[in-house]
Symmetry: C2
Subunit: 223 residues, 2 copies
Amino acid sequence: MRLVIAQCSVDYAGRLAAHLPTARRLLIVKADGSVLVHSDGGSYKPLNWMSPPCTLREEEQGDGYLWTVTNKAGEQLVITIEEVFHDTAHDLGIDPGLQKDGVESHLQELLAEQIETLGKGWRLIRREYPTPIGPVDILCRDAEGATVAVEIKRRGEIDGVEQLTRYLDLLNRDPLLAPVRGVFAAQEIKPQARVLATDRGISCAILDYEVLRGMDDPSTRLF
Amino acid sequence: MRLVIAQCSVDYAGRLAAHLPTARRLLIVKADGSVLVHSDGGSYKPLNWMSPPCTLREEEQGDGYLWTVTNKAGEQLVITIEEVFHDTAHDLGIDPGLQKDGVESHLQELLAEQIETLGKGWRLIRREYPTPIGPVDILCRDAEGATVAVEIKRRGEIDGVEQLTRYLDLLNRDPLLAPVRGVFAAQEIKPQARVLATDRGISCAILDYEVLRGMDDPSTRLF
DNA sequence: TGATATATCTCGAGT
DNA sequence: ACTCGAGGTATATCA
């Protein structure tokens, strides 16, 4: 990894065109040839960048340098460097990578394993039940044998209710499944989403991730 | 901006939990206190980070250091540093910011100017036709004089079909306009969106930005 | 490889 | 402050 602090201007031409007027910035060149241009603020997103795979061509231009980064699609990032204040290279090796815990897929796995969280005597039909407009998170049967479609979100907003409504419309056309009712399950459900769900006869369930995980086998936990 | 190359492990606890085993990495501390953890590969997204506003507390721990970055919501990024290989600070000043060109609103302007792209004899009523639930991108009449509502997206996904459906429901209550049919126009339409649109009697149109722009470019006109 | 859903999405505009 | 929509979205998963 190479770190350069330089006075530079940047132009990107690819899926769109973008220009950065001259200023002092951090340029990162990673081992795979990718380049990031960072300012001293904003968030984690660089001002401009080129994703790998790509190649960096470096040439002198006047008192400074011209960097041209090109990828396979022909997109170009052109960095005009007027002055270099810092330039170091470091060998980092390969990163072991990130372990995450608490995302939506975990909620879905845990709830599928413990479907009776939603009601006593409920049984799982399957996770990711396929339909032409996308998979239903969980399809199951309640104690009376009626079909239930469950939509799971980390944060329950209005989009999720719309999504579940579409699935219900579709599933209810299948005589083998109909009538199908819906459950909207999330760690947190926004008031607007709850109102819309209730209005459409969809019930809401709040999921407690800690409780679901606590009931799960500790040996399968990430940490 | 401070650049540190260090052997470190990282833990994030906030909206989710994440852990990075020990490895040699780049740590960036920006002027606003935000911290980025980058490896020597991947893409522009850091392995882990804390967005501003946040505060960094630095303390010695054994032979190394313990960094604790905390934001207002109580989320924490904890970096355990075993060994520091590089540590420099640089004054960058304020960045003038990015200028973008060639984005999506052009698509609407171009299609409105060339509404016959959708069908011979079609005439524009107006762009951004106002309704109580937001403006319809384009309202026009086909060769037979029937009203058509057009929703334009760069990437046609299911949300866009939902949006157009809401407009159609509303517009069809207006006796001066009804019956109104819908056209879903995008540079690219996802299969699921196409299925839903077709199911609702909405037709789909693929827009070619280059062709639309080419037709509009005075230099390429015949007269 | 292509399609799809998620994201600690980020970022900006408008209300 | 909040919502809504777009993004050079990126990223992972699954067919």
